[in-house]
């Protein structure tokens, strides 16, 4: 972990000094997948194009304002926090558009009618979760992140990630029960 941190610190220092695109691209290569995953975890399935737009905007913002990084936290935490906030902004924009397709609507092909109902109910309940809780669910169940990875991605403690997931599952179970889907 410390080697990763040092590598980032070196790359940030090199880019801050040179301001060359080539130096910045080395940072992009190291973090583009994670930035994209943070965005997609907030925006949900079927929003990959939007998540890519968010990732591009994040890297452009960092490129312009690398001086804002004070080095008090890890570069990756700072970067993922920006990505998380940008993705939340984008989600609000998408939801505010009257003609936008609802997000979180991609479903796996369920086997039976009961599965379809349950899948629809889960998709609907997911959209009602608080942003952070929904992101934690997506990171864990969809993208297969461990608690540690969720914590690192969202810039929180591992215990907090665990409690967010617990709370998210509790809220989902309650929402599903209200819809007549019992666990």
């Amino acid at each position: 972990m410390s080697a990763i941190r040092d590598e980032d610190a070196i790359l940030v220092a090199e880019f801050t000094r040179s301001r060359r695109v080539e130096d910045f691209e080395r940072l992009v290569e190291r973090h583009q997948q994670m930035v994209f995953r943070v965005a997609v975890s907030v925006l949900g399935p079927n929003s990959e194009r939007d998540a890519e737009d968010v990732a591009q905007d994040v890297f452009l913002q960092v490129f312009r304002r690398i001086g804002d990084f004070q080095g008090r936290s890890r570069f990756s935490s700072w970067l993922y926090r920006i990505a998380y906030n940008r993705a939340l902004d984008r989600r609000r924009v998408i939801r505010a558009k009257p003609d936008s397709a609802p997000i979180d609507t991609e479903r796996p092909a369920p086997a039976s009618g009961r599965d379809i109902l349950r899948s629809d109910a889960i998709a609907d309940c997911l959209t009602r979760l608080p942003d952070a809780h929904r992101a934690a669910i997506h990171l864990h169940y969809w993208l297969g992140h461990t608690m540690e990875e969720i914590a690192q991605t969202l810039g929180i403690q591992s215990g907090t990630a665990k409690s967010w997931l617990f709370r998210a599952r509790h809220l989902l179970a309650r929402c599903l029960a209200l819809k007549g889907v019992h666990s």
Binding site: V28, F36, L60, R90, R107, P108, S119, I137
Partner: protein, 105 residues
Amino acid sequence: MIHDHLVRHFEGTRAPSLSPEFAMNLRRRLRAERQPRTAPVILRWAPRVYWLLVAAGLVRYWRPAMLTPAQMLVLAIVGAAVLLTLRSAVRPGPLPRILRETLWR
């Protein structure tokens, strides 16, 4: 049980992946960012000329009261503080960006 429902719900959902164009598009945007942005000469000079004329008008028609060096220093400090406050106050926050994206998308 809710755990099992979620596992089943997401197991058929395709894992997201970056498109091959992502890196290419980003590189193009980064390179465009490096290009110096030069405004037309008239746009650069119009505000300068305007303020020069304003300053010339003030010198010509306004007779300021005589200030001591200490008063001038205090005035300069207060003026700088006001300018800094105004600059931070008018820095655009997330709201204008959200509104702009809503309108343009």
